[in-house]
């Protein structure tokens, strides 16, 4: 696991450059996909092509092999890194290559082909400028697309000046680029073998697509007579026509460019003549184009991933980096914390678990807070947080059982063994909350004592700098149970889901929700119900979460059958009902609960839209307010409802657009991540303290967001529903 010290050091050394670059890419992505009329259709098409291609992978590999060989190339399917390297070394050896030039490729990073070739005395030169910087600095990439994203211009200039001692010290980006172009240009035309990756390979014609902006892949292929393309077996798609959605999506998703400068569609060996660049007599066209082409397709665990129901989606990944750039934590610490041996960012968990193993994936798996901001960013719709959850579960189960006695009674969970103590504590927070309410206010006082804080810090890794939630003695369910419905002749009937926090901690927002719904003519009941399972799911305790899901279904089913809508205040729980339960429940139970559940403002919006009068709510005239929506709510497209309702009630609303508040459930409580959580939170704080925003009261939808904002600002935030209650 990345330790608190490592995280702090990375934030200090690489944080600023990473933050600037990833946020730039991410903003560019929003702008660029915003210009696409058929964005969602393109995403669906892209996913469909990958789904089918992975389904038919063995047949496509056979077809591709046949096509490439008919074109005059060679195909080698390598079982693993060593196998691939041995083949590539043989190619270089046969060509008697002194120098190999490479166009950036993550797959070649994965197999570490540079080291293999260098061991044979071959000079290997990276031609992508960012990758070349790292080669000189002897560092690993920190980003799938922009490998040297963590390096500032100043540090590159320092590196070049030290390494190459130029006559005039290099300073500007243009000087550095020009220097690299000259230096690399000479080395490229002097090389015998060119290695590239391949973003996609069409089985019908053997055409491969290479996406670059510098033109180094073009030069690498054109200036050498032997081309080795290295790619994972999952890169195969059926036809050239299938490239269309990917060409439209890959640059936009990655760096926010509508398209990168060059999309090379090569059907090697290509016709470009192989020239001697020093020749000043022979015209270009008189050189022949005698070229060798080797396609090295690498399995290295991928075919096993294909058979793994949970990891299979990883193979749809097109390496665009949208998941990294949209990830709030990645924006703070970058790929050197948020990555494994090769891949970084959200999807790295799937890749590293499949290629390297659980032990490598474990080192950074906890950096995924499950906020789901990457889900809509992914152009092939991979549920990356789910992959992270599954891998977390597998890691838990891989462990020795911890000291059970410490959490006896606190952990009535379904985990047979393994899940670490801290995870089981947070995963079983329902039990803690029940005890807390039952014994409040003593529990709150006790929990806040120095001794208790020290113990929680030592045993559970809960950061002492965090305020703890204060439990209410009277739960929302108790309050509602003692109360008669205020509505006669109801317009609709609903069950308000008493989520863990609303029921035990944020009871006031629950009461406000009941009052608002009643004002709008809804008959409301608040029956006891189990917690949604969000807490154990966050800890990778999938079996426990499944048990919660089943019990929640049992508790809510009779109400749904009775014609009641399910209204949910906590967005992360609403997301459970409408997203994650699909993974945990049988299809009909899921459909039943998902189709009948509404986030509270989505529901209020619907009531107003269907004729309920806003006059029955508390309204204002132009009062200013700042609103921070919740990650999972935004993923579900439900932010707009809150804004619309607040505006209808007369508020002038400013919304935050940072990806996340940085808290995400238990994440920000953990000592290892406290500083990272606050660093992410700082971006939200900055927005909320901007001119024109700094005096606005703040409302936020999620419990975690409320707690984080409470820690970040002087102003105490509230749930927006509390503004509406009369």
């Amino acid at each position: 696991m990345a330790t608190a010290d490592e995280i702090r050091e990375l934030m200090r050394t690489e944080g600023a450059a990473i933050a600037e670059n990833t946020q730039g890419f991410n903003t560019g992505r929003y702008d660029s996909v915003g210009d696409l009329e058929d964005y969602e259709d393109l995403k669906r098409a892209a996913r469909g092509i990958k789904e089918d291609a992975i389904e038919e992978l063995p047949e496509l590999l056979d077809q591709l092999t046949e096509t490439v060989e008919a074109n005059g190339g060679t195909v080698y399917i390598a079982d693993d890194a060593a196998d691939a390297n041995e083949y590539i070394r043989d190619v270089a050896d046969e060509r008697a290559a002194d120098r190999v030039v490479k166009s950036k490729s993550m797959t070649s990073e994965e197999i570490e082909v540079n080291e293999a070739l260098e061991a044979d005395g071959v000079d290997v030169v990276e031609t992508d400028l960012g990758e070349w910087v790292l080669q000189i600095a002897d560092e690993a990439p920190s980003h799938i697309v922009a490998p040297a994203i963590h390096k500032s211009r100043e540090s590159i200039a320092e590196l070049f000046n030290e390494q190459f001692d130029p006559d005039e010290p290099l300073e500007t980006a243009a000087e550095l680029t020009h220097f690299a172009r000259e230096k690399l240009g000479e080395q490229i035309i002097d090389a015998e073998v060119g290695i590239t990756g391949a973003n996609f390979i069409a089985a019908d014609t053997g055409t491969m697509a290479l996406v670059t902006s510098e033109g180094n892949a073009r030069k690498t292929v054109a200036a050498t007579d032997t081309h080795v393309a290295v790619a994972g077996v999952e890169k195969v798609i059926p036809t050239v026509e299938d490239l269309h959605p990917f060409i439209e999506l890959i640059g936009r998703s990655g760096t926010g460019q509508d398209i990168t400068s060059y999309v090379s569609l090569l059907t090697p060996p290509v016709d470009t003549p192989v020239v001697d660049f020093t020749d000043d007599e022979t015209p270009l066209s008189e050189f022949d184009s005698d070229r060798d082409f080797h396609l090295v397709l690498i399995d290295n665990g991928r075919l096993e991933m294909r058979d793994d129901e949970q990891l299979r989606e990883t193979l749809y990944c097109i390496r665009c980096s949208a998941c990294s750039n949209s990830c709030a934590n990645f924006q703070s610490v970058g790929g050197h914390a948020f990555g494994g041996e090769t891949y970084s960012g959200g999807i790295a968990t799937g890749w590293e678990a499949g290629i390297e193993g659980l032990d490598v994936a474990e080192k950074f798996n906890d950096l995924c807070t499950g906020c789901t901001r990457c889900v809509n960013a992914c152009p092939v719709g991979i549920d990356i947080p789910w992959i992270n959850t599954v891998v977390r579960d597998r890691i838990n189960r891989d462990k020795e059982a911890p000291g059970e006695w410490l959490v006896d009674g606190l952990t009535p969970d379904e985990e047979d063994d393994g899940a670490p103590l801290q995870k089981r504590f947070f995963g079983n927070f329902e039990t803690v909350a029940k005890l807390g309410s039952a014994t409040a206010p003593v529990s709150n006082w006790l929990a806040d004592t120095t001794l208790a804080r020290q113990t929680m810090s030592r045993v559970l890794g809960i950061d002492p700098r965090r305020d703890l939630p204060a439990f209410e003695r009277e739960t929302l369910v108790d309050w509602a149970g003692d109360r008669d419905s205020q509505v006669t002749n109801p317009e609709r009937r609903a069950v308000l889901y008493p989520d863990l926090y609303t029921n035990h901690v944020q009871v006031e927002r629950g009461k406000a929700a009941v009052r608002v719904l009643e004002s709008l003519g809804v008959d409301v009941v608040v029956p006891p119900a189990p917690s949604s399972g969000r807490a154990p799911l966050s800890q990778g305790m999938v079996a426990t979460a499944t048990d919660h899901a089943e019990r929640v279904t049992k508790a809510l089913e009779p109400h749904i059958a009775d014609g009641r809508d399910v209204v949910v205040i906590e967005p992360s729980d609403h997301a459970m009902f409408t997203r994650e339960y699909e993974r945990l429940l049988d299809e009909s139970s899921f459909t039943d609960i998902a189709a009948n559940s509404y986030e509270v403002f989505e529901y209020v919006f619907g009531l107003l839209d269907n004729g309920a009068s806003v006059d029955s709510l508390s309204t204002v005239t132009g009062a200013e307010i700042a609103y921070h929506s919740h990650c999972q709510q935004r993923t579900l497209g439900l932010e707009a409802h809150t804004v619309a309702v607040l505006e209808e009630c007369g508020y002038d609303v400013v919304t935050s657009d940072v990806e996340c508040c940085g808290m995400a459930g238990s994440f920000g409580y953990k000592s290892d991540y406290y500083e990272l959580s606050m660093d992410v939170g700082d971006r939200l704080r900055t927005q909320l303290e901007d001119d024109g925003v700094q005096d606005r009261p703040v409302v936020a939808s999620g419990t975690s967001c409320l707690e984080q904002i409470d820690a970040l600002l002087e102003r105490q935030p509230r749930h927006p529903i509390e503004l509406l209650a009369t």
């Binding site: 980006a173 550095l176 033109g215 030069k219 036809t239 050239v240 569609l265 090697p268 470009t272 660049f277």
Partner: protein, 173 residues
């Protein structure tokens, strides 16, 4: 036709690519004006359709030696297709080394027949799909100049050309 061309030119402008237009009979003059010497090029009949224009009467060295290519500032080639909504050029890879001429120079001048402008990427890829299926061909979809942001700011001319100029050849009346 007009809207494809307008959207193509708009996209080129946004990319910082300059454009001029001419007729086939005026093409020599237009090309001469567009190049910065020393200039090298690939005879058009080798790269685009049945064009007969050969660049003979221009200051451009057609089919240069590799050394001359490396000395050249401008490279002139044809473009197979234009992509309206992206301002992309589809460059072919020929035995006449059009790939080298369009890439190993600072300034690339691409000659594109107006009728070869496709409305969008979908149409362009469908066209390439058809061609590749017949010929096992290769092509570069080139959009704007070569660029990198790896050195801390966006810089044009990373490995390939830092300037691109497109000459659109209009049909004669």
């Amino acid at each position: 036709m007009e809207s494809k061309r307008a959207s193509f030119e708009g996209a080129l402008e946004a990319l910082g690519v300059t454009v001029s237009s001419t007729s086939e009979s005026e093409l020599e003059a237009a090309v001469t004006e567009a190049v910065t010497e020393p200039a090298v090029g690939v005879a058009l009949d080798e790269t685009v359709g049945d064009g007969t224009f050969s660049l003979v009467e221009t200051p451009i060295t057609v089919d240069p030696t590799p050394a001359a290519l490396r000395e050249a500032t401008t490279g002139v080639t044809g473009a197979e297709l234009g992509v309206g909504d992206y301002g992309s050029l589809v460059l072919s890879m020929t035995e006449q080394a059009s790939e080298l001429v369009s890439l190993f120079v600072e300034r690339h001048v691409a000659i594109l027949y107006e009728e070869d402008i496709q409305p969008d990427m979908d149409a362009a890829v469908a066209e390439l799909d058809e061609r590749f299926t017949e010929t096992n061909g290769s092509a570069i979809i080139a959009t704007g100049p070569s660029a990198t942001a790896d050195m801390g700011a966006l810089v044009k001319g990373a490995h390939g050309p830092k300037e691109v100029h497109v000459i659109i050849v209009e049909e004669e009346d």
